[in-house]
Amino acid sequence: MSTAIAIAAAVQAGQSARIEVDHALERAQRDTTNAVIRIHAERARAAASRVDQRIAAGERLPLAGVPIAVKDNLCVEGLETTACSKILAGFIPPYTATAVARLEQAGAVVVATTNMDEFAFGSSNETSAYGPVRNPRDPTRIPGGSSGGSAAAVAAGIVPLALGSDTGGSIRQPASLCGVVGMKPTYGCVSRYGLIAFGSSLDQIGPLATTVADAGLCLEVMAGHDGFDSTSAQRPTAGLAAAGLNRTIPSGLRVGYVPAHATGLASGVAARLEAAKRQLAQAGATLVPIEMPHETYAVAVYYVIATGEAASNLSRFDGIRYGHRTAQPATLQALYGQSRAEGFGWEAKRRIMLGTYALSAGYYDAYYAQAQRVRTMVVQAFERAYASVDVLLGATAPTTAFALGDKVDDPMAMYMNDVCTIPSNLSGHPAVSVPFGVGADGLPVGVQVLAPALQEALLFRVAQVVEDGAL
């Protein structure tokens, strides 16, 4: 499979978009990982023909004819969108998410919808109403989550580019476990209009790709202010794609790392992180050990804030305006309670309970407000770190992909998968996971580059130097 950049160049030069799209549709049909839950053949072929017409009419489209897959929590007008929850079975959005609309406007063609943990609640893609996804590198293993379907679809070579969403690591962790690039932009960089909300102070949409350059191009197309999302940033976004093509690091670059992190990593992961540090040092960077106090509390902060926000966001699913409604409820209250009980899976119920608990009278200050205060301290620690370094380097996940079913009955063990990725959701900073070889078990390992807010161009530039040393 070619990169998105190569496909777009070929289509711009006159090759029919229908060829790439037809190939991607065939690959999606043959998917054995359960990454793809819906294929949109007719719509995709019509869209590809429109791309051909636009190219023939002289338009320049940065993603001309690039087949993409979209996570099932991003609304596309006319295409069933369910967040892989029974409660949204049959939901047909009347509008398209801004991120998807911008990619389509740039010539990308949506060929498939990808599997995910229900409402993005999970780190293994095992909470999906559509069943688990298998890791393309080893079908007995999980692909990571919650954007497990998007990561697996790219890793399996079905599409060169897929969209995910990242609330606590849901793009980067599956990217790491499947051996692809996964990027979470700065909070506010990409409009979330049309994204089914999970944790509104944490959520970001981002790309999964086979190369850093493809991820940069995708982000450049998606990024920028959108009147439909008041949290989207007012700032210029040009230059991200170009940053993906400059394979050097700025002179004098200081790369921070946290020595204390090494203790929590599987040995194979720690070894790859050391190799990535050597790679950046050879490229001319100065490695600087730093401390990140209060980061050990990040997972606890996250599970209070994210579940509180999730409980609030999921209150809209009431069986009235859309979604599942129970049959013959005795009262209105029973309609709400039973529709929700029948529609939500267990992990969603657990998060609603925890979030409601943390927000309830008598506990609000001890849990939710306290978590927000500790979150402030985590943000301040990042700000102090970025006073002495330009970017940070670390592992993306503490281990390689684990076996299907391994952690499904142990919520705390599952939640700890996100220990490396959560801090940048709490701070809102951008981060990217870059594949960097394999662990002792032969499974993919990703390393993560983190940068200050709105420094995506620097992030991609450093990530590409890491990428060049991955072999």
Binding site: G90, F91, I92, P94, Y95, Y187, G188, S201, G227, S230, T231, A233, Y297, V299, A300, Y303, V304, A311, S315, G319, I320, R321, Y322, H324, R325, T331, L332, Q333, A334, L335, Y336, G337, Q338, R340, A341, F344, K349, R350, I352, M353, L354, T356, Y357, S360, Y367, A369, Q370, A371, Q372, R373, V374, R375, T376, M377, V379, P411, M412, Y415, G428, A453
Partner: protein, 96 residues
């Protein structure tokens, strides 16, 4: 911190989520473990630290108060599980 089945029943009411007895029992155990974990936040001295709600530093983002594109009635009703031509149908809530 103990999370009792009575606590779970209260949370069910607050969140409009009907759980069966077996689910309530399981939920109380699982929630107790997770709340036990997040309890560590209590050890952090946060005196004088302001809670953060928005990392982008945004406040009261407004837009011009003019009508713009909106859903048609047909679109707005299309996903309702029970509806007629003009309205969403719900159980009777007021007895006459």
């Amino acid at each position: 911190m103990a999370i009792t089945e009575q606590d779970i029943r209260h949370l069910c009411k607050l969140s409009s989520l009907s759980l069966g007895d077996a689910e309530i029992n399981r939920m109380s155990k699982e929630l107790e473990a997770i709340v036990g974990y997040v309890q560590q936040l209590q050890e952090v001295d946060t005196t004088g630290v302001e809670p953060i709600a928005n990392v982008a530093g945004l406040e009261n983002v407004t837009r011009p108060d003019v009508p713009a594109g909106m859903l048609t009635q047909r679109q707005a009703l299309a996903n309702a599980p029970q509806r007629n031509e003009v309205a969403i149908l719900v159980p009777k809530v007021v007895e006459r």
